[in-house]
């Protein structure tokens, strides 16, 4: 990858991290509020993000748009037949999301905001990921 390639993804990531903080999506308090259905805040953000995402993906697909390198854009479909994996794995993720009050993106944005303690859940998430890799063949999918 060339330097300008790195720069491209660095800039998009920076925009993402900045907005995660400015919208307070990274906040433990906002996640509590969301799971208590006390405010439209998080639902409005996720809902509008999905609407913008759906419209853009449809435009990209219908116009057969290419990426900046001229390559066709293909989105691999996910296998919806693995219901166990999505419900059980998803619920385990939900336990962690509510407990920590942060999902992976916010964990790193919070670290950037100066909360060095986030290194602990990030390390724990790496151990969790590694543990899944170890147990993968024994888990129902």
């Amino acid at each position: 990858m060339k330097f300008t390639e790195y720069l491209k993804y660095l800039v998009i990531g920076t925009l993402f991290g900045f907005i995660l903080v400015k919208s307070e999506v990274v906040s433990w308090f906002r996640i509590q509020e969301m799971f208590r259905f006390d405010s439209i805040h998080m639902y409005g953000i996720i809902g509008l993000a999905i609407i913008v995402g759906i419209i853009s993906v449809q435009i990209i697909k219908r116009k057969n748009m290419k990426d900046m390198h001229g390559n066709p854009i293909t989105i691999p479909p996910k296998d919806a037949s693995q219901v166990t994996r999505y419900i059980v794995g998803g619920s385990i993720f939900g336990f962690g999301w509510a407990l920590l009050g942060a999902c992976p993106g916010p964990m790193f944005a919070l670290l950037g905001s100066g909360l060095t303690i986030m290194l602990v859940p990030i390390a724990a998430a790496l151990v969790g990921t590694y543990t899944y890799g170890l147990l993968r063949d024994k888990l129902p999918h």
Partner: protein, 187 residues
């Protein structure tokens, strides 16, 4: 003039910008937005014990995403440190009452000091939140094949049924944790 950089941004402005991450990454290089894949790439970079799940060329698969992740840390630094909002978050009054009833005292900043300081690691609740919480996020994201970005934003943007099922799972777990387990953990 730069007041808006310090102030929190309303949901109706932030939501669409977050959604734009999906087409930006697709147009930039045909990449699908998903943060938790980076945790797998990091495991693949080390891969102690030669675990098959981490046996792939993480450099060609993940360099762009790890770069995106470094950007997210930088964006967090800009948004939460350089242009930090000095005011407490404007939460729903019912949430404040519920949080205080669980024993959380600090309502300033993005996260409560009760749980998110190095000193909190000395308490049982802090240990559970930071270590068990982090572990479940990492384990669950890979088990489900994605996290909030990969399933709730990317997957639903592509109208994937699998992602809808996963998001339902996220809420099953999140609601049980928030309403039944969290009060026990903090008591």
């Amino acid at each position: 003039m730069f007041d808006f950089l310090y102030q929190p941004w309303p949901w109706y402005l932030a939501g669409p910008i977050i959604g734009l991450t999906v087409p930006l990454l697709l147009l930039a290089g045909g990449k699908m937005f998903g943060v938790s894949a980076n945790l797998r790439h990091a495991c693949a970079a080390c891969n102690f014990g030669n675990v098959e799940f981490f046996n792939y060329d993480w450099k060609s698969a993940g360099k762009w995403n790890l770069t995106f992740l470094v950007g997210s840390v930088l964006g967090g630094f800009l948004g939460g440190y350089v242009f930090a909002n000095p005011e407490p978050i404007q939460l729903a009054s019912s949430t404040i009452a519920d949080i205080q009833a669980m024993g959380i005292q600090d309502l300033n900043g993005l996260v409560p000091d009760d749980l998110f300081t190095w000193g909190a690691l000395g308490s049982g609740a802090g240990l559970i939140v930071l270590i068990v919480g982090g572990f479940l996020v990492g384990f669950g994201a890979r088990y489900a094949g994605g996290c909030t970005s990969g399933h709730a934003i990317s997957g639903l943007s592509d109208l994937q049924l699998a992602s809808l099922i996963a998001v339902i799972g996220f809420f099953i777990g999140g609601l049980i944790m928030t309403h039944f387990l969290y009060p026990i953990i903090l008591s």
